[in-house]
Amino acid sequence: MSYLRLGLARLRGLFAGTREDQDLREELESHLEMETAELIRRGMDPETARRQARIASGGVTQAAEAVREQRGLPWIENAVADLRYGIRSLRRNPGFTAVVVITLALGIGATTAIFSVVRGVLLKPLPHRDGDRLVYLRQSTDALGGENMLFSVPEIRDLRSGAPAFTYIAEYSPWDAVLRGEADVATVQVGLVTGNFFDVMGLSPVVGRLTRASDDGPGVPPVTVLTHEFWIRRFGADSSIVGRQLLMNGQSVTVIGVLQPAPLFPDQVDCFTNMVFSEHHLSATMVEGRTHRMTELIGRLKPSATLAEARTEITTVHERLKRQYPDAYDPGSNYRISVIPFKQAIGQRAQLTLWLLIGVAGFILVISAANVTSLTLMRGVRRGHELVVRTALGAASGRLRRLLLVENLLLALIGAALGLVIAVGGLELLVRLVARYSPRAAEIQLDRTVLGFTLGLSVAIALLLSFAASLPRDDAEGVLVSAGANRHTGTPGKQRLQRGLVVAQIAVSVVLLAGAGLLTRTMMELSAVNTGLRTEEVLTIPVPFRATDSTAEAAAKQRLGEMADGIRALPGVVDVGIGSEVPLTTSLLNLELKVEGKPLSAGQAIPRAEGRNADPHYFRAAGIPLLQGREFTTADRTGSGQVAIINQALADILCPGESPIDRRIAWTGDVLRFAPVNGEWRTVVGVVGNTHDGGLDAAPPAVMYMPFAQEFNYAGGLAVRADSNVSALAGAATRIVRELAPGIPIEKVMTVAQIKEQSVTPRRLNAVLVWSFGVLALIIAAVGIAGVLAFSVSMRINEIGVRMSLGAAPGQVQRMILGEGGVLLGIGLVMGLLGALLSARAIQGLLFGVAPYDPATFGAVAVIMAVIGIGACWIPALRASRVDPVITLRAQ
């Protein structure tokens, strides 16, 4: 009861105004008077009596304060007062406040953005029902390219029957198909799945149903489940889609439902179909061939089963199979199956990058917090006098600590708010980067957990800052006051720590900047790579006819000819060439070659080349230079002698040091049985320049061109040359092509400049990301070094005053301070450059056309760092040189 009354009274007291204070003061005054009167009565003189009474009272102000604390709810009053005081004191030091807030915002922003990415991609539970029961099976070997061998149908059968730990094992095969719509034609990525796939995955439909067991096997109608993203993108989220027939690869497929939004793994497909959609997947080669591995497996563990049990069962089956079918499992390749938790499998590709990013962000946070700590320490020391006086006036050290905490909380929270803005800005870039590695990029968001993380982080920083500052000890106050507290300095140990931090910050900035510099050079080198085409005014139009029989092939050839004629009639077009592929893309055909009269010596590798077809206009239209011999002519057609043109790369392989003209070469090897070309001798009539078909960063492949008219054309493409502004032609040219080939998806119409850009874009993303971190670290380091020097100046202000009064020129003082900063800068630079040399080796794989120790980059980075560093040192140096010796010395 009395607690309640006490509480209510205190609550009332919280709002008690000046009247009660007035009351209290009167009461205390009357006490004092009575005491004084008593002392006088005992014979003391009035003056002494009054003093005596005051001493005995223990301080009227303190008493009033104590009563006030008792009367109200002191912590609320104090918090409000502290907050008001905190805001006032931060506003009084706008420079300090701005620097600390910005530094914290950078650190917190970077960490928050990266944390939200990591959470979305790695940590968040999967949207799949009981997602932790899902596993991905992977068969791998030691052989080159054997990381994921997939599974064959007989293997799947054996694994299923031998692994009771699984409820189900579902199959998945990627496939692509041409979807013919009412108005257009598009290529779609398809996942061929077994009926149990979605049961295993634990996913539900948004509309309609998903596949089930009755959709398995031959003789069932083909059905498709659309992914959520594709449903929205292609069908505008039309919920009457269920039951609609889609024309895919010329087959009618029924839409049965739409999948809930979910990360798609192993591939980002547009839709799923049952196996019957692909004849190949039900064919004898597929069903009977133990080495015909085309299927990925995802399993769901029984609720009672553990991952270890599943692993043991799968391994046992696999060992048995290896003994039973030695032909299918080359013992030297070490076939093995790993059972990987699904969440891990889905995050695997992104993991390394993300942990790297976390490392960088964590480091940025630590150096920014270190910066703020040392700034706060300095301010703490500068405020030493204020704090000592406050202590002497009776402020409890707990109260001072609380005041500091409130101030630091204010700083940290403002920093966090600004950091969130930065995080939101940076998140887009990160999501784009991560989307290349993880299907879960769409799940990245700044949600409540992330906000909680940020809040926790800022509170932790505020606590750290509050307890890093040293408060005068209660019993030391007298000493400090009498010593003149402005001579109270930070301990040398603390200064050494701050200097060490600054050196580390500079070193980290240099490392990050060097990385950013190397990646930028990579980007520049890549853009400067000559594609092999003489001009960029070329438009490439792939027309994937995919003819399988000679009638369709002849028709396709005819169509391509008509398209070329049509485009040639457009204004501004210089020439149009026809080929099996457009330039600057890789060819599907890659075969072994032999040269007449030049048998390979033992141990010599069989030469390989890409096969491409080209018509007489192709080289001129694409701008591929003719180096020797002649181009194809209309005389090279069916029935005439078989001829070929090779590129310089192939000439160097086949006939190093001599002219390949008139030599006879032919495709060779077993694979010819399945390939759409013959192995007859062809006479080399010309040599053309190399082209970067595999991307700007890959070496140009060896190519053999065959006359378009002589060869079977399994695909098709057009190269359009214009005298200027070729991209303006894209629309008209695409229309002509679409009109003539209504069933063919015309999707990747690109200028040479656009193709080049494709190689450069990912590098640019890398560079931008590392630049942003580099610049962040640079800002933090600049603030750090300026802060430490400013501190040093304020500590040495008396010394500087003495020096100047003894005749030191402002310039000398400036040089003294600059020298102090220069030492830190120098050490940091050297350490940073060493670190950059080491870490550049680690990112060598990301570099192109630039050495990891590129002197120009390193030099430029050193100059940038030095300029910024010296600039940062200048501010405190300037302040030092403006010290007025008279004022400084008088203050003593």
């Binding site: 009274a9 009167a37 009272s57 223990g58 008493a63 104590a66 008792q70």
Partner: protein
Amino acid sequence: MADKQDVQPGTLALMILRTLEVLGPLHGYGVARRIEETSKQKIQLNYGTLYPALVKLEQEGFVRAAWGQSENNRRAKYYSLTAAGRKRLAQEAREWRRTADLISAFLARREEAP
């Protein structure tokens, strides 16, 4: 001055209540003097100790305060016991006596031991 004692927590409220019970309504100065005398000057109360305690007792409803005239015509705030305060005092005193008996019994036995 060496034998000055700090007021033990919780005991000050009891001393105040008892003082008010014995002397009737009294101002802060009077309370302080009485406690100092009773403790034979071993306890010296400064304002910062006394007044918060008085305010707390008032908030708890054990004492009430009113302005009045002091013996030599000064305005002073007088504190007096309420019924609740009287009850509280009796209860507290009982508990203290019990505790004190117990502790002194313990300490006495300790002294008897060899």
